[in-house]
């Protein structure tokens, strides 16, 4: 079924909308959830939460890209769940590797306990991404938004794995420097 038809079902408050979403995008959403949640039970609960949230949001929202829209909500639901369940005692999820890498971007003089205004940080990252060349931004977003493995990123953009690693390393350094300039260090 086309996205347009699925959205029409949501707009008609027809519960078949959820079944059609699951049929078309269920696997995709579970793949995204799996980056943060190794246990199938956790993923299934997240998927249920996702459908509930989407049912409430559409209408009036009418996403231009249903696939990305679902993926974005799924990513954030799954990561919230990971934070709640596994942040203290890590559970072997793919996201943990990405987090280890991102730790390099934290300005040296900052402390882990230092509280950060979330909205401000989001805006800073948005501005930082705007400064990057397109290819670097694509690679960075694939790694730290979608949590794609490096090898998959290399395949996607026709890069050698070493090149992808180098791009990521360079971009992390840039982010660290950008955060420092933005006042994330005293």
């Amino acid at each position: 079924m086309q996205d347009e038809e699925i959205l029409a079902l949501y707009f008609r408050r027809d519960e078949a909308a959820v079944a059609e979403t699951e049929r078309k995008y269920g696997t995709y959403c579970r793949q995204i959830a799996a980056r943060s949640l190794p246990r199938a039970e956790d993923r299934e609960e997240c998927v249920s939460d996702l459908y509930l949230r989407v049912w409430d949001a559409i209408p009036p929202q009418k996403p231009k890209n249903l696939r990305l829209y679902l993926g974005a909500i799924m990513r954030n639901l799954a990561f919230s769940r990971w934070r709640k369940l596994y942040a203290a005692k890590r559970g072997g999820a793919a996201v943990e590797l990405a987090l280890d890498e991102l730790a390099e971007c934290i300005p040296a003089s900052g402390t882990p306990e230092e509280s950060v205004e979330a909205r401000e940080l989001e805006e800073t990252i948005d501005r930082f991404l705007a400064t990057l060349p397109v290819r670097e931004r694509q690679v960075f977003v694939r790694r730290y938004y979608f949590t794609d493995p490096v090898v998959e990123i290399a395949l996607r953009f026709d890069l050698r794995e070493n090149t992808a690693v180098a791009i990521l390393s360079r971009t992390r350094k840039k982010l660290r420097s950008y955060l420092e300039k933005e006042g994330y260090t005293p």
């Binding site: 269920g26 890209n65 954030n76 934070r83 280890d100 979330a118 694509q138 026709d158």
Partner: protein, 390 residues
């Protein structure tokens, strides 16, 4: 700050960055102008000629065009092997594109524009897709089959359009030429748009990436016209509170629009139901918390537009010069063809409570010959239509 904070903040980056990274099929396009040049007609085999005629015939039948008396809004394009060269336009082609990346299997240069129906805000294009095996075609023909064409990318006059403004469907297949015919309906085409660049993708099941990527095909947007009538019809109230009054009808070659003034929900909802929504920042934008009562009221209001519109406009009829009459709703391709649209979109939860004008749009399967239409009946009253057919 922790790494988790950074990762969480990444969750609210702009959608355009996600699209940029997700849609690896995005192409780097060279600055260029579209050139309308005559297609090179190669050696035409007998089979090829028969195939072309057959698929064109299907397209004409699908849209309801008579080959001997074509509509001004209907345009046919030269296709290799096509015998009928009476009124065809040269195949629109463009300079070669430079791609920034290559998908597995490469970019398939397999699309040929067959014909178009340009009708106000809606453009319908029939496109031939070569290289489709009988097995895939059988799957495409089956609703809910494993293979399907997805929207791919679309831009109108260089501006990328939203996916939801376009629908693509499989129409027919010619086994001898291994060529499928698809129909693309693009909605919301701006008045000044002169061409649409379009490329669908062929997808399989729930696989996250398409199995075939196609080079763009150019769809020229040709001039079209519409007929209008001021109307006045109050919809039956039923159990609903708000008033709905049809005020104008517009007839284009591909659809009928009935503009309806509606009472904004904010004016008819119980006191305290429509309230400012609570917004909290979360990764990926903001969380909007809407009270259940408000959500229910919004949904009920939307549904009322459908229910009342469908019921009240079930008998909308077009009257032709030869004395015949067509009931619009009997010519609808699917349950989704009749839709309400709001100029400028719905907005958010609060904005949609202030909508005071909607359009009930009936996109017909079969094209309407505006030269032959003289009047429209809405709510039992016949109104003469004015305006010039193309």
């Amino acid at each position: 700050m922790k790494a988790e904070d950074l990762y969480e903040a990444m969750g609210s980056i702009r959608m355009e960055y996600l699209e940029e990274s997700e849609m690896q099929m995005k192409k780097k396009k060279l600055p260029r102008r579209t050139l309308l040049v005559a297609a090179v007609i190669g050696a035409m085999g007998i089979v090829g000629a028969a195939v072309s005629f057959s698929l064109r015939g299907v397209a004409r039948a699908d849209v309801g065009v008579d080959a001997t008396r074509p509509l001004p809004e209907w345009t046919e394009y030269e296709v290799e092997g096509e015998k009928d060269t009476g009124a065809v336009q040269p195949q629109p082609v463009s300079e070669p594109e430079e791609h920034e990346w290559e998908p597995e299997g490469g970019w398939q240069d397999s699309l040929t524009l067959d014909s178009t129906l340009c009708s106000g805000e809606v453009v319908t294009a029939y496109i031939r897709v070569a290289g489709i095996s009988p097995e895939i075609a059988a799957s495409l023909a089956q609703r809910g089959g494993e293979y399907y064409f997805d929207i791919g990318s679309l831009d109108a006059n260089g501006e990328e359009r939203s996916d939801s403004s376009c629908g693509v469907s499989y129409v027919s297949y010619d086994e001898a030429a291994q060529t499928a015919l698809i129909r693309v309906d693009v909605h919301g085409v701006a008045e000044d748009c002169t061409e649409i660049r379009y490329s669908p993708t062929l997808c399989r099941g729930a696989e996250p990436r398409p199995v075939v990527y196609y080079e763009d095909v150019i769809i020229p947007v040709t001039p079209s016209s519409g007929l209008h009538a001021k109307i006045d019809m109050l919809f039956p109230q039923g159990d609903y509170r708000g008033e709905m009054r049809a005020v104008e009808a517009t007839v284009c070659a591909g659809y009928v629009d009935i503009a309806v003034d509606v009472t904004p929900l904010r004016e008819i909802a119980d006191e305290g139901v429509i309230v400012p929504v609570k917004r909290t920042q979360i990764p990926h934008g903001e969380r909007v918390t809407v009270p259940d009562a408000m959500l229910d009221a919004i949904h009920e209001n939307f549904i009322s537009w459908w229910d009342r519109g469908d019921a009240a406009l079930a008998d909308v009829q077009l009257h032709y010069r030869d004395g015949t009459t067509q009931t619009v709703k009997e010519d609808l391709p699917s349950a989704y063809a009749a839709d309400w649209v709001v100029e400028g979109g719905l907005g958010g939860y609060e904005e949609c409570c202030d909508i005071d004008r909607i359009s009930l749009r009936y996109v017909t399967t079969q094209a309407i010959d505006l030269r032959q239409v003289v009047s429209i009946t809405v709510g039992g009253v016949e109104y003469p239509l004015t305006g010039e057919a193309a």
